[in-house]
Point group: C2
Chain length 404, copies 2
Amino acid sequence: MRICVLGGDGYCGWATALYLSRRGHTVSIVDNFARRQWDHELGVQTLTPIQPLFERVRAWRDLTGHEIEVFAGDVTDHEFLASTIETLRPDAVVHFAEQRAAPYSMIDRQHAVFTQVNNVVGTLNLLFAIREIVPDCHLVKLGTMGEYGTPNIDIEEGYIRIEHNGRSDVLPFPKQPGSFYHLSKVHDSHNIMFACKIWGLRATDLNQGVVYGTVTDEVSLDEVLINRFDYDDVFGTVLNRFCIQAAIGHPLTVYGLGGQTRGFLDIRDTVRCIELACLNPAAPGECRVFNQFTEQFSVLELATMVQAEAAKFGLRAQIEHLPTPRVEAQEHYYNARHSKLIDLGLRPHCLSDSLLDSLMNIAVKYRERVDVGAFLPQVNWKNARNERRPSSAAAALAMSKGVV
Amino acid sequence: MRICVLGGDGYCGWATALYLSRRGHTVSIVDNFARRQWDHELGVQTLTPIQPLFERVRAWRDLTGHEIEVFAGDVTDHEFLASTIETLRPDAVVHFAEQRAAPYSMIDRQHAVFTQVNNVVGTLNLLFAIREIVPDCHLVKLGTMGEYGTPNIDIEEGYIRIEHNGRSDVLPFPKQPGSFYHLSKVHDSHNIMFACKIWGLRATDLNQGVVYGTVTDEVSLDEVLINRFDYDDVFGTVLNRFCIQAAIGHPLTVYGLGGQTRGFLDIRDTVRCIELACLNPAAPGECRVFNQFTEQFSVLELATMVQAEAAKFGLRAQIEHLPTPRVEAQEHYYNARHSKLIDLGLRPHCLSDSLLDSLMNIAVKYRERVDVGAFLPQVNWKNARNERRPSSAAAALAMSKGVV
């Protein structure tokens, strides 16, 4: 298939582009390198030393013979996006090209507005480009499990049958997103559902859980292909951060009680889910929703698992509870359905000791690059304006106060 | 109370500002005159000869002694908005300052993106301004009944208790908006709900039905105060259009079967509902939703009522079914709750013969100003791009084809 990966220089996007390329698809990447820019802005960097995209793509060609074409530009620039889609005429567009960090969207008004405008306008542009240029193209859009929040009922895959006053209908599952970022994904979901209805587009909205891991079969071919491994308070995800904290003997920083339960998945399952969605497209007019995760854990359960794994490396990992910077339930019911991707053939990688082992190995290998200041949450949901400091300054401050 | 009316130069905004001013509140208007600009863009105008805002406000002061302060500017300009809120320190902000026409948002990509960015960013700016400057201020936000779409179950006021797999929760009512404009209001609703949750703001989200009428006690004091009366295919509302069509002997243009059922209300109830919301503010942290309409009608029922009323004026009004330009159910279940404003004291003006009579009188009085070209729908939901012509050209075209 001809597959265009928007945001293909990012964490999930890069792993996906390589996986699809190796599987024989004709892959192109569209990216504006915004993700790298945000690292500069925040004064943080990925644990792993990633290479510029042009180096990555050249190495991939040299190693495998597979060509990945790169289009540098911004999906909020409609002229650029439309001409790219016109050139490529893809069978599927995989859309990762959004600002994806909840804390980034909560820094202040500018970051909230930027996140919503960037994400909503990029997706609107894409919907119009598909409608006008390649109406049969399948949109595979990354959403998030965070769109649902933590309702006190089972979470279904996108839609729920509601019986009410003796009548019944299948309606979009009610959304209770927990940040301006998560809200942007809810806005996208509503826009996509509508575009499918009025124009007969095909779309799959993948409500992805929290991704962990960095090694896929493709990136492990050579270190030049290495993927991001983020652990900072803004773009880092929780399990990656715990492993790095354990590797350097830093307490595992649990926000609040740690009863926050979420869906998680291995990045090797992310890439497989994307291919399954592409190979089994939605019907014309259908806006299909898959919950893309494989296991549920509470944050405290993850911390305990990392603690046990670290002990095997001779590392003693303490658990430290920080006040949560978010406004969220710290203990709650959580049970989310996730069977549609399994039905299409997904065989999940579960978070066993062996995986934790490989995560710990990465963390240990690159531990010299760790900046402990980047662990500390600096963005508080209750503030309208967070004066975020570069992590090195934050680290010095924290150390002087005996926090780390 | 000190009440700031954003969008106070528009149809509902102007009537509301005068009503609140006459009731003794200290009223200010914020407006960027975008609504007047859109008339120029579309080549249409209100049936009634409205005056510039500065003339209206001066006349109001001369007639009543009540001062309404005007702040000219755009709510998407945060610096302007924040300094205005800082100057006024209002007890309540009534937010009408959005692009409010579904067909306008469906013209093409630019209009869709403009509508969503304009509405979402204006509301985000307002939420941040309230949080930072006047956190106890009550936000009274205009939403629309169109956020709900036409589900096959009863529509509740904002939230619904869902029983599912033996568990239960009260969740936001699922939304199925029918245009990029309606979507923008759904996005706003989610953003406001979240801001109330994290910052403890007070908000009332008024999901208003289709408004009809133009005469309130205040605007009838003098013709210089006259309100808008829109009948064009983009900004016109259905009942106003039918009355004008009847007044000039033009067929009443029903889209499709006419079984589309919606909630309606008299503009005199709009202004009273706004005051009721202001006088009974939401609690801190509460995002309250009221369905603001008084009666349900199908479009065909309205046409039949206007036909009967027109006969009393000696006018013979035919009903003409045009293909609907929208993607919508033409026959459907519709039953929406609307008791919360009644509980607060609203006494509805029902669409009786006497009201239709006054509407018909306005239509007959100004019928020389009618542009029949403005009746014809030129924006089709199924097109990604509608080449809209100024109404005079459209009229000539339609006449040449025997359509009118």
